[in-house]
Symmetry: C2
Subunit: 583 residues, 2 copies
């Protein structure tokens, strides 16, 4: 061992000890002829002193050190005269008697400090240096703590951690599979799993009863910001359960993790139907840290704003508003900003209508031409608007308007400081539609995945009115982020075949792709259900209450799926291509 | 929940309770008009009773059940008159009041019993049924316990579990990489990692100090029995350590796992040099549960059997013997079996010479024509053979003879019952050669991998006599099985470049493949080292003291790398091939 202690553990009680430390040179300061070095390792920082009166030669040698050099020092732990209250080791310093340079360092391309001067690309290329920075390191160490808390809970509940294969069969449903050419089986391909879905169900068939795995998954999607081609899932499944059992179990898990990792007691998880979530928040993962619910001024036949010759509303499929408390004083500039926000191509609204409920009881709106003061008052009553409030209204095609209003609501939440960093509002969203219509492919898609079962009472609708069938599915949502989702599964061959048929698959297609699981269902499959959490996102939420995941992955890829450090993907040998039958 | 209790938990103290169970029909027996069903789940077996005097209709219904049906029963827990001491639940049974068939089952293609009538291929195809058998299920549950014990130990020692990427850059060293075509980067490929070797070293560069991961690895090798294209490693690395630190840490881990999982105290791990292992056992992973060490009768210039006109010995490069205690009474047939054993093509020996040290003090050998009784006595003294012992001798080319004698020694260990199932003999093998000559490619290969450092005292030999350089490498061996291996790593650019050059790589080649880690070495890399265990094999050893791994993997592949259940690998769509630029 190159050290007797770490750089984070020495305290005043260690004063007087002779010891050895090893670590990185964080900072060098010269003061009154003496050199002071902050020596860093994973555990902390300890101050080293090179004093020419103590050892002249050594002090000169120390002057040649540079940032990020790896050194070993032997010396004595002494009390500091000038204590540093910011550092746990701030009461002591090491008076150095021996200095060994274990490795030199070039000047790093960016500063290794909590706040760095390095841009994204540079930090990704030198990820091994970026990982030296305390905030990045602490994210990853926190990730380990989250994994431990998850395992402790599930182990305690009798779940068995079973590893499922990574080289499987290609069965693309939804997203694309990554494939792996097989050399021993020329012309054939393995696929990398998008999730262990079928395997965990087979483990239920096998009687494993309770299964979990923290497992890598792969999806060859066109990457969006913060999507990674490989990501990690907490994957869980239980046999002989109904929906309520799964909800209780995993509400318990999430609470337990927050308690262990953050010392935080989460409240009970309220429940909301998918329909209510869409109606009130325009979104199936609403941030309920704040209210500001949708008010539908026009929705199908219901219309409280029509007939006033305002074409925008009259011609719109939907008119939706929200009431923002105390914003009636918003300036022209602020309102213009909000208008620009909803007109961005991602949202694509034509404009934004506002009604100010002034402090003096009067109303002022951007549609005064069409709506009388009385009209505005009536509308304002719909929102229970109080003097001082600002009503924001969007109109247009239903789905698009919902989405835009949902984004505007979150934007207003941000502006009003309603999305607090120290507040966590979990939620179960229930009763999702089983299927959604794919306009491009002109067929139904599974909203969750094709193994999701449906409500018994909707059974007859599957063939007659599939869009109306509600799934036995549930999502765990927190602060506007989907942490996980799952369902009670189909567990017999007949219903699974009906589902595949509803998705437009021929018997031949589903037999080829999923024959193994259809067969398995005929050998005594228990009722079962489960859930999967996006582990990267879960860590990000538990640790930092944020949505971004890249800072919680040790070696992430960029938006083009490239690892900038490795410069991967890359070329392979012609010889290998030939062996794989790719030429 | 479909049950109030599991099938493994009811005891006499539960008698009188009304309860609900769910599980699989293991066995149905009709006895005196009553039906008895063994109901099985992961936790055990509980006997159900259908009594016509209690409920006639239900008893008739129960007669229609078949093996592996999934049922739910409600009833009363009652004391059994005829207790079964073999079962933890054998004191009670359930008098059934309600029966619900949750799912029927076809007749399984093989019996779901501890000893099954199913052949390998059938069991692999219906793996989900094979996994229902208790021995297979218990192997996998034990695997989870091993993982837990590993994590507990490493977490306790401050190791951070960090996930490394699976889609990386192809850098084939030794075995072939599996590759993954990139759709977003046409014509380019990711590789699946053979191990996270470079990543764990980069984590040391980053200052993570102590890292571990239980991680999937991939190797596209021509498969041998018991090799899997994907396998799991316990991967560990430590900074600021020397060899002794790593040995202590992981000797501690192995002991801790055996203690927790098997309740077994392992002895201290003896250490043996690679050279000694080869000389005494002809093998770098000797099974030291028994002695039976090699005696070299001829090795280079040393020759104690030459000059007797026995051409087989005179012309051989090496003559090696072992002494098997108390086997002098071996029959002609037994000796013939051993001769056939060493003549198998895998070993390729010409024959086997024996010397019997008879109980009466005389000697009898298969080479009496060439060696006098006195000659034989002298040879026997070399082996310290006692009356009753049998000496077995092989001759031929050195490496081949070593290997054959090593196998013969293990065979004799088996025959004499010296390889005990309840005995565990761990061992560190040290001081491996750094390089080994590849006769086919006419170049040096790294014996462990190209990041292994070498003994300081051999430094000058790397360019002048590379075969003589000893590595800072170590293997953990138990009962003839290699559990893990590792090394102290190279940690500066200059030595890493020297190593690549020794392996015959051009500067251009190693810059392209390993530029990222060579660069990393210039930014303050600490001395570091680590180890990786084959997790599948480790589980197999801890749990069952055996070498085979397939029974410890939930969904293994066969010798052609095929998953028989999924029928993978398989074809992929032409559309996908086109998108990937493979057509």
């Amino acid at each position: 061992m190159y050290r007797t202690h770490t750089c984070g553990e020495l305290r005043i009680s260690d004063a007087g000890k002779s010891l050895t430390l090893a670590g990185w040179v964080q900072r060098i300061r010269n003061f009154g002829g003496m050199n002071f070095i902050d020596l860093r390792d994973r555990y902390g920082i300890t101050q080293l002193v090179f004093n020419p009166q103590h050892n002249k030669e050594l002090t000169e040698k120390s002057a040649a050190l540079g940032r990020e050099f790896v050194i070993q020092v032997k010396g004595k732990c002494v009390e500091r005269s000038n204590k540093n209250k910011e550092l746990p080791t701030g009461d002591i310093e090491i008076l150095v008697d021996e200095l060994n340079v274990l490795n030199a360092s070039l000047t790093p391309p960016f500063t290794i400090e909590d706040e760095t001067d390095g841009g994204d690309d540079l930090r990704m290329k030198y990820r091994y240096l970026d990982l030296r920075r305390k905030p990045v390191r602490e994210n990853l160490l926190a990730r380990h703590q989250v994994a431990r808390a998850v395992r402790e809970y599930l182990d305690g509940q009798g779940f068995a951690d079973v590893e499922t294969p990574h080289l499987i069969k290609s069965t693309p449903e939804g997203a694309r599979d990554f494939v792996v050419p097989s050399r021993l089986n020329p012309g054939q391909f393995y696929a990398l799993p998008q999730s262990p879905q079928t395997f965990k169900q087979l483990l239920m068939v096998s009687g494993f009863d309770r299964y979990y795995q923290i497992v890598r998954c792969f999806r060859d999607e066109d990457l969006r910001a913060d999507r990674q081609p490989e990501f990690t899932q907490i994957d869980c499944e239980m046999a002989f359960v109904e929906r309520e059992d799964v909800l209780q179990m995993f509400e318990g898990m999430t609470k337990s993790v927050f308690k262990k990792v953050r010392g935080l007691e989460l409240p009970a998880f309220p429940r909301m139907s998918y329909d209510d979530a869409m109606m009130n928040y325009g979104n199936d993962k609403p941030d309920i840290r704040f209210e500001m619910k949708f008010v539908w001024l026009k929705n199908g036949d219901e219309d409280v704003v029509g007939g006033k010759s305002f074409k925008v509303f009259d011609e719109a499929e939907s008119v939706i508003g929200i009431c923002t408390k105390g914003c009636a004083e918003y300036s022209r500039k602020q309102l213009d900003e909000l208008t620009e926000f909803v007109k961005r191509p991602q949202l694509g609204m034509q404009g934004l209508v506002y009604i100010k409920a002034n402090a003096d009881g009067t109303f002022k709106s951007s549609v005064d031409k069409f709506y009388s003061s009385d009209d505005l008052k009536k509308i304002a009553e719909k929102f229970s608007a109080l003097p001082g409030d600002l009503i924001l209204i969007l109109a247009g095609e239903k789905a698009r308007t919902c989405k835009a209003m949902s984004e505007l609501r979150l934007e207003m939440g941000n502006r009003l400081g309603l999305r607090k960093k120290d507040e966590f509002k979990p939620l179960w969203v229930l009763d999702f539609p089983l299927l959604e219509w794919d306009e491009e492919e002109k067929r139904w898609n599974a909203m969750h995945h094709p193994f999701t079962s449906w409500r018994k009472e909707d059974d007859a609708l599957l063939e007659t009115d599939p869009g109306k069938v509600k799934a036995n599915a549930y999502d765990m949502v927190m602060n506007g982020v989907e942490l996980g989702g799952g369902s009670i599964r189909i567990h017999n061959r007949k219903n699974q075949e009906r589902m595949f048929a509803a998705l437009g698959m021929s018997k031949e297609q589903y037999e080829y792709k999923f024959g193994f699981i259809l067969n398995a269902f005929e050998f005594g499959t228990p009722p079962h259900g489960g859930i999967a959490y996006g582990f990267d996102r879960f860590c990000s939420m538990v640790t930092a209450n944020q949505e971004g995941i890249r800072d919680f992955i040790a070696f992430p890829k960029n938006n083009m799926g490239r690892d900038m450090m490795l410069d991967a993907p890359g070329d392979i040998d012609e010889k290998q291509k030939k062996e794989l039958g790719l030429k």
